[in-house]
């Protein structure tokens, strides 16, 4: 099975000792693993090659951070590079100054165009706009019915024909109708086609000519392999793209195709599909994809996130508190909030080397964390600062106030005490460590 990069790097971490400057030989060793990880994640081999070369250049001679091993440091650089390659966080669909905004969905067969068209329509409708869908896939059996069904579910009108008609003619007819009916968004669902199918590529060009879409979006399956580069390149060169939507991200594909596509087109990934239901379209987060491409055990992004969540001044303050043994429930709550702001607990735990493999089948109950927060929120400020105040009747009140059981409150108090103990142990040590998250289960 695919090992995660984190798991594999554990082996390297053992081999690589020492600090100081990153040595070429350290880098090469680590980059070999990075290369394999990227290839296993389906990043195109040419993209991998360029990528590894540029990382090598950036990494050589860099100072190794105090907190990291050389191997980790290389991966950190890789992670940063991937994020950079994948681009800024949000690249929304741009609306035309003069409505309607025309959006054309294109891509291979079965990539998710029809479903994604409906998902977009839903988002626009929720924003209070008046979208219209166009069933311009006249190729696949029952494609028109599929879009009509989805349109009905959303209560969004679908323009379609049962007659012999070209998709381009149908689309321009739809545009006219949209203007008449004051529709401000027109989403054209087209037939799936192979990028090498000349006849069908011409058909797309015709639709484009007739409707001048403001956004032409390539819908690409996140499970796509090495060919992603050729597919994206051809669609971009022949039709022209404004962006990409990556679908079926709810599976376990590592999604390296995203890197390939971005590398050859330079076009932003605007959304990702995370399920078959129509509300499952999310903003695309480069950093999350970077971690995913590199495998779950990405200790670096954990470290990085930990570093950014705890800025230095704050860390110092917390350190002082620990010295003074004044760590309160309020501090616990803040810490929890920070940990949760870094991503799902599961993905965070997955980043801890050695834990990744063991945790594969463990489900972590995020609700537990919500409960802990709720319990702390229901305490009075003085209770939060002095746990000795928490007698039976107060605990009962807190349980009622937070919608939990007294046993839950007891558990939170116990965890707090344990955490305090644990933090005390760090007191002598240097620097700040992550709290023992797993201890909260």
């Amino acid at each position: 099975m695919l090992e995660s990069l984190g798991e594999r790097l554990e082996g390297i971490f053992k081999k690589l000792k020492g600090r100081g400057l990153l040595k070429e030989q350290d880098i090469e060793l680590a980059l070999k693993e990075v290369r394999v990880a990227l290839l296993e994640a389906d990043v195109n081999f040419r993209v991998v090659k360029d990528f590894v070369a540029s990382v090598k250049e950036k990494a050589t001679g860099k100072a190794v951070l105090e907190s990291l091993t050389p191997g980790q440091q290389v991966v950190k650089i890789v992670h940063n590079e991937i994020c950079q390659l994948l681009g800024g966080t949000e690249d929304k669909i741009k609306l035309a100054p003069n409505p309607p905004t025309v959006i054309m969905m294109i891509g291979l067969q079965g990539s998710g165009k029809t479903t994604t068209s409906a998902k977009l329509a839903r988002i626009f409708k929720k924003e209070g706009r008046r979208p219209m869908l166009v069933a311009a896939d006249l190729q696949r059996p029952a494609a028109v019915d599929q879009l009509i069904t989805l349109g009905k579910q959303l209560d969004v009108p679908v323009h379609f024909t049962r007659d012999k008609m070209s998709p381009a003619a149908l689309s321009s007819e739809a545009l006219k109708k949209a203007r008449l009916e004051a529709r401000d968004i027109v989403i054209i669902d087209t037939a799936g086609r192979l990028h090498i199918d000349q006849a069908l590529m011409v058909e797309l060009k015709e639709i484009k000519e007739k409707t001048s879409p403001h956004e032409t979006l390539l819908v690409a399956d996140s499970m796509t392999g090495q060919e992603a580069v050729n597919i994206a390149k051809t669609f971009n060169e022949e039709i022209g793209l404004e962006g990409v939507i990556l679908t079926k991200m709810d599976g376990d594909a590592r999604g390296g195709a995203a890197l390939s596509i971005k590398a050859v087109t330079g076009k932003p990934i605007k959304y990702m599909g995370t399920g078959e239901k129509l509300d499952m379209l999310e903003a695309f987060h480069p950093d999350r994809l970077a971690s995913r491409v590199l495998g779950m055990g990405d200790v670096l992004s954990l470290i990085e996130k930990a570093q950014s969540a705890y800025d230095m001044a704050e860390a110092e303050k917390l350190g002082k508190k620990l010295m003074a043994e004044s760590f309160t429930f309020e501090d616990l709550r803040d810490q929890l909030k920070k940990v949760r702001s870094m991503g799902s607990i599961e993905s965070l735990l997955g980043m801890i080397p050695g834990l990744g493999a063991k945790l594969k089948n463990v489900k972590i109950d995020e609700k537990e964390f919500v409960k802990v927060e709720a319990v702390i929120n229901s305490m009075t400020p003085s209770e939060r600062r002095n746990r000795h105040l928490l007698n039976g009747s107060r605990r009962k009140r807190i349980a009622i106030g937070s919608g939990t059981q007294v046993s839950d409150v007891n558990r939170v108090v116990k965890q707090y005490v344990e955490m305090k103990k644990m933090l005390k142990m760090f007191k002598g040590g240097k620097g700040l460590r992550m709290p023992n998250i797993a201890g909260f289960r």
């Binding site: 099975m1 399956d221 090495q226 195709a257």
Partner: protein, 300 residues
């Protein structure tokens, strides 16, 4: 056009790049050195064969020098190595008591329904009677899609309303086929990602319920894999196999530029035979998989 020629035509683009590449690497009696091996690795990886399998192939080229010599050239050696990886041809054959039940599964958009349509018309053209079960009750207009294929192929369609119980549709179809004395039942299921436990449970239920109507069924459980997919296809095969014991693979969309190299790894790691190839969207675009033809078409 003969069968092989059509396959070759379907695989032309695949062949052009893989074969042209191998010929270039080892042209003019060039030796097997680090550079040529690296090029070969890239070529293999670009077919989605995966790093591990590619390394294995390269290792044998590197180490079994006398076998390479015996084969005549690195190219011939690679050809026979890769053919061996795929094993013997194991076409989809009907056997046993009627009806022969084929359960079709796979991730979303892989080409299940289309493959079923093509298979159905192959069987009806052979003079067999076919029942199709519209057990994808989830995706919008999935039933209508299969209905069109049943008309194209002259197969009977068994359906219920959208949103119904897929297992019940499958059961009805097998019962109907038994009653009518039909030869084949092909069950279409909703696309599902292999990671979704409840949906995999649903498939197990479909199988259990079919077995109530016919204990030996399904005689064939066909996993449909999109050749455009990369390494994730191995996970698909692994998990679908775990859930419902896959007996064969249909590899679709080979008319594109994707090479579907992952099937080498699927065969190597899981032993699941590849049985069918999809090389287009029309009724006639279905081929039996034959390792030798496949490799010949790849290698020219």
């Amino acid at each position: 056009m003969g069968l092989f020629d059509r396959l070759k035509k379907g695989l032309e683009r695949t062949r052009a790049s893989l074969m042209g590449g191998i010929d270039n690497i080892f042209s003019g009696g060039k030796v097997i050195d680090e550079e040529s091996l690296e090029e070969l690795e890239e070529l293999l990886i670009s077919s989605d064969i995966g790093v591990k399998t590619a390394s294995g192939i390269i290792e044998s080229l590197e180490q079994r020098k006398s076998d390479v010599k015996k084969a005549g050239s690195p190219r011939e050696f690679l050809k026979s190595e890769m053919t061996d990886l795929l094993g013997r041809p194991e076409p989809l054959v009907l056997f046993g008591e009627k009806p022969f039940v084929i359960l079709t599964v796979g991730v979303n958009g892989a080409g299940k329904t289309t493959t079923i349509g093509k298979l159905a018309s192959r069987f009806t053209q052979e003079g067999r009677s076919v029942v199709l079960a519209a057990a994808d009750t989830f995706r919008a207009a999935a039933i209508e899609q299969l209905e069109i294929w049943s008309q194209r192929s002259g197969a009977q369609l068994i359906k219920q309303q959208a949103g119904g119980d897929p297992a019940a549709v499958a059961f009805d179809a097998v019962e109907a086929a038994k009653k009518r004395g039909s030869d084949v039942v092909i069950i279409d299921t909703a696309g599902r990602l292999h990671t979704k436990a409840p949906l995999m449970e649903e498939l197990k239920k479909v199988r259990r319920v079919i077995q109530k109507a016919m204990p030996d069924a399904p005689q064939e459980t066909l996993l449909v894999v999109d050749a455009t997919n990369g390494q994730n296809a191995l996970r698909q095969a692994e998990l679908f196999n775990q859930a419902i014991a896959v007996t064969g693979i249909a590899l679709t969309k080979l008319d594109g530029t994707a090479k579907g190299g992952i099937v080498f790894t699927i065969k190597r790691e899981l032993g699941i035979p590849i049985k069918l190839l999809g090389i287009g969207e029309a009724v006639e675009d279905l081929r039996d998989f034959d390792p030798k033809d496949f490799i010949d078409a790849l290698f020219g």
